[in-house]
């Protein structure tokens, strides 16, 4: 299995997984196969010390107090990391999950903000993840702020954006400067390509490295045990990527 070439999704899984090292508990929301796989992979690497809650899973979800427990648990400081996406994401880390072209009568309506307007504030390490990296998504300024990237200092906010991971590269977020900084570019892509496809300004050091490939140990974990685990919640994803069924 580990002889197969590294697929782009596996590179993303490796990047996201690395951002969870040393944490106690990561939660993964709905419609998040890659973050879910990353979380389960890091759980394996940690020898089970990382607790993983995957919404939609039975095995990896121990909540027993209904829909509110994820949010209460986060508010209690018991969730270290969470993943959020965005129909639009801007350079200050604001995200739009609501719509485009006017509000409330949006011409293009997204599903809605889900728990973002809460979890973005209370989870210390929120990782923004969106595979599509275009100027349609990475905009100068989101049309509707489902949740802001930063807040004034008097606002209670133990949480916020930690990084942005896309199909082109990886950015860190600097909360005090309210800006992204390009950390790495995925193999086969360039800084210029990222600039061309990003509607906002970001910090870009000289000589941005290429995103590292996952090492063999991680690949073995992902393609092995974790492929079977994630298949419980995302059977089509697991089958397509790993040829795996629920284990």
């Amino acid at each position: 299995m580990t002889d197969l070439p590294v697929r782009p999704e596996e590179r993303l899984i490796a990047v996201l997984s690395g951002m969870l090292a040393g944490l106690r508990h990561v939660a993964v929301g709905n419609a998040s196969p890659i973050p879910g796989t990353a979380a389960l992979a890091e759980r394996e690497r940690s020898g089970g010390r990382l607790r993983v809650t995957v919404l939609g899973s039975r095995r990896f979800n121990s909540f027993t107090d209904g829909g509110r427990e994820l949010f209460d648990c986060a508010a209690q400081g018991r969730i270290d990391a969470f993943f959020l996406g965005g129909g639009e994401i801007d350079g200050e880390g604001n995200i739009n999950l609501v719509g485009l072209g006017g509000y409330p009568t949006s011409a293009v309506r997204f599903p809605g903000s889900f728990g973002s307007a809460y979890l973005y504030y209370v989870v210390p390490r929120v990782i923004l993840f969106r595979e599509e990296h275009t100027r349609r998504v990475m905009v100068p300024r989101v049309e509707f702020i489902s949740a802001p990237g930063t807040s004034e200092s008097r606002i209670y906010r133990p949480g916020g954006p930690h990084a942005l991971v896309t199909g082109l590269g990886v950015f860190d977020f600097d909360r005090s400067r309210r800006r992204f900084r390009l950390r790495s570019v995925h193999p086969g892509h360039t800084v210029e390509e990222i600039r061309d496809n990003t509607g906002f300004d970001f910090d870009c050091p000289d000589g941005v490295p290429t995103t590292a490939d996952p090492d063999a140990a991680l690949l073995a974990i992902v393609r092995g045990r974790v492929a079977g685990q994630i298949a419980e919640v995302y059977p089509q994803f697991a089958r397509r990527l790993f040829g795996a069924a629920a284990a």
Partner: protein, 278 residues
């Protein structure tokens, strides 16, 4: 059970009048789809629909049926099936008042109603455009601290909670298991209307293990026995989402006529094998 006992599906939804505030669960938590179709066919109007905290096919169909005048939700999503067409079109046309929320805000506002308090505080939200557009929410300074603004959400007090559950008994007790948002909804609502997959012989509260996962009949106004009552959505370990049926809906919903005929023709599998009222 507060009053009506075990009744038919049409009698159950017959209690939901025009203008009612109706709370419904998310797609994974037991959605009373058969009841929803019955409600649309009856032509209910001006519902204030509260998704706890999100909805999918149910909100989509109620909107398509012209039943909704206000929608409060953290999201409306058909998941992998893409945009919900009647919801998207209703938003474009301003066909209903959209009250965008965030998941924990819906839960907290229902807990306020459950506890009989006028409001509940909630962290987060400040700086979000959700808050900017929710003129029914307020920001106060936390009286226990200096310079600490916090949002207060007014209680959401639904007239009805409507959902589908696995088991109900003849005392009106309903087994909901881990799906405790159904309990909060039911406590918050003036009355709960429940369809159940199966009737449990005996008293669900008589066994402590079952009782731990029960909504007591105290909150349940009436209950109808509706096998496959969540179809075409999936339900617990009983049946999976019927993706073909959802795709069939999406095809027919491309025109208003198509939507109407889909709802008129809709028939859940096996529904003729069962006497709904017993």
């Amino acid at each position: 059970m507060a009053n009506k006992g075990l009744i038919s599906l049409d009698e159950l939804v017959g209690q939901i009048g025009d203008g009612a505030m109706l709370a419904v669960p998310p797609d994974y938590s037991g959605v009373a789809m058969a009841a929803t179709v019955s409600l649309i066919r009856r032509g209910v109007r001006r519902l204030h629909l509260v998704a706890v905290p999100t909805s999918g096919l149910q909100a989509e169909w109620l909107i398509g049926g012209g039943c909704v005048s206000t929608l409060e939700a953290a999201a409306i999503t058909l998941g992998e099936f893409g945009p919900a067409p009647c919801f998207a079109e209703g938003i474009r046309a301003g066909a209903f008042v959209m009250k965008d929320s965030t998941c924990p805000a819906v839960h907290a506002a229902l807990q306020a109603a459950e506890k009989g308090v006028p409001f509940m505080p909630l962290r987060g939200l400040i700086g979000s455009d959700i808050l900017k557009h929710r003129h029914d929410w307020q920001v106060i300074d936390n009286p226990f601290s200096a310079q600490d603004p916090i949002v207060l959400l007014p209680a959401i007090k639904p007239d009805f909670a409507l959902f589908h559950a696995l088991l109900g008994d003849r005392h009106g007790n309903v087994w909901i298991g881990r799906r405790r948002e159904l309990m909060t909804m039911a406590h918050a609502a003036a009355a709960s209307l429940v369809t159940v997959e199966r009737i449990y012989d005996g008293d669900l509260l008589a066994d402590e293990t079952m009782a731990a996962g029960c909504l007591p009949g105290l909150y349940v106004q009436s209950l109808a026995h509706v096998p496959r009552g969540a179809w075409p959505l999936g339900f617990a370990d009983e049946y999976a989402l019927d993706a073909d049926e959802v795709r069939r809906y999406l095809q027919r919903a491309r025109s208003p006529d198509g939507f109407r005929s889909y709802i008129a023709d809709w028939d859940r599998p096996g529904s003729h094998d069962v006497v709904a009222a017993e």
